[in-house]
């Protein structure tokens, strides 16, 4: 009962250190990036913003995959359900950070915090889909019921992504062209590309590290529920014997 173990292990420890080191490297290299003519210091955001967006897509994808694996009768297990939920939770953080860093970049560059660009709109929709999914997960239910409900709703949400993509890109991108290419491709310096790729790597590592910890925590929560139930049953049994 008084189990004070954390959710760490050798694997997550290594992963955590790798995530920390790569993040520190991204930070250091990001800060040394030169100012650009159009964007000034804000061009340095290229080190983290695309990486954050990438990690949010990974989170969405992992949730979708885990949901499919839960629904497939042969691979159905609590693991996939908890992984789907954990990945979605971490995904919300990354999606929100993507939108926030994007806004910070957009304010000086475009002059506004927000434009109705295809990719921004899609990210905002993705955030609301994830929030809805997590709200549904928080409704108390049996593991089986919650698993089915969450997995089906995750699939329902994923199905709409391609339709959303077309709707939003026809709606916006065709009107005003690609407003969101961070820096024009032909002038993208090797240094910027290196920082961006490093950002992808470090954000992926951070995502994996957080998700594994969150998953283990979810696992422990499930254990507490069953342990408490066992303890309560045991206590009743003892009462019955002594009385």
């Amino acid at each position: 009962m008084n189990d004070r173990r954390g959710t760490g292990s050798v694997v997550t420890m290594t992963l955590g250190i790798a995530a920390f080191v790569s993040l520190a490297a991204t930070y250091a290299i990001g800060l040394t990036l030169p100012k650009t003519y159009e964007q000034g210091d804000y061009s340095k955001l290229i080190a983290i913003h695309p990486g954050l967006a990438w990690a949010s897509y990974v989170a969405f994808g992992v949730t979708a995959m885990a949901s499919v694996l839960w629904l497939w009768p042969r691979t159905r297990s609590l693991t996939w359900d908890l992984l789907a939920g954990s990945s979605a939770e971490v995904g919300v953080v990354f999606t929100a950070l993507t939108l926030i860093t994007g806004s910070i970049w957009g304010r000086p560059t475009w002059g506004v915090w927000w434009v109705w660009d295809a990719r921004l709109t899609l990210s905002a929709l993705e955030l609301t889909l994830l929030l809805g999914y997590l709200a549904l997960r928080r409704v108390p239910a049996d593991a089986e019921v919650r698993g089915r409900r969450s997995a089906l709703s995750a699939l329902l949400a994923v199905l709409v992504v391609p339709v959303n993509h077309f709707a939003v890109s026809w709606w916006r991108t065709l009107h005003q062209g690609e407003s969101l290419s961070l820096t024009p491709k032909d002038t993208l310096d090797g240094k910027f590309i290196f920082a961006m790729v490093l950002g992808f790597l470090s954000m992926t590592l951070v995502y994996a590290w957080l998700t594994i910890h969150r998953y283990r925590l979810a696992r422990r929560e499930e254990d507490v529920v069953t342990d408490d139930l066992d303890a309560a049953l045991e206590a009743r049994r003892r009462e019955a014997v002594t009385s």
């Binding site: 709200a135 549904l136 409900r149 699939l155 949400a157 339709v163 709707a167």
Partner: protein, 224 residues
Amino acid sequence: MWRDARLVAGKDLRIELRSRVALNQVAPFSLLILVLFAFALDPDRDVLARAAAGLYWVAVLLSALLAVQRSAALEATDGVPDSQRLSALDPAGVFLGKAAAVAVQLAVLEVLLGVGVVVLYDVHIHGIVTLVATAVAATVGLAAAGTLYGVLAAGLRVRETLLPLLLLPVVAPVLIAATRASESALTGLATDVSSGDWLRLLAVFAVIYVAFGVVAYGALMEDQ
């Protein structure tokens, strides 16, 4: 499956005919939305007429939420979920029936709202065929997605607050596509993406959610 769908749709529509919830509550609500838009936007400066397509579809979307909630509430009380499971009705049939009943009610609401938009916002209709086709495709999609999320949320204590959060982001493409498709029909002007493309997108959305419902409604019914 089709027989069960007819039975369920007939039952839902009969309940509506006798209780008149959609007619007496949802329809006035949707007209009220149109009036509220007029209060919020300046009616003199032509804003309403230009935004009519979007406002119309927002009103439809909000009314659809109520219609879906009502449709799911019919099945959620008095042990109906259990008796439905025992009734040997095909879940796919139940889904199609419920979605069809919602679609019929939405269609009536859309006609009513259409008249409201023409009268209140001073809109002239240029392409009636496009409008009808848009309405049909969007209605089927909305009814299918709505019915799915309706049953998903039906058994929950937080259903009233959860349903809009789940449903609205998913039907966002319907709002975008239906608005763009009807815009050209209302203004008579050509747009970048033709109405036909938007219609196809609406049709794809409808097909996806009808197909998903036919396959997965049984599993969702079990959880109620």
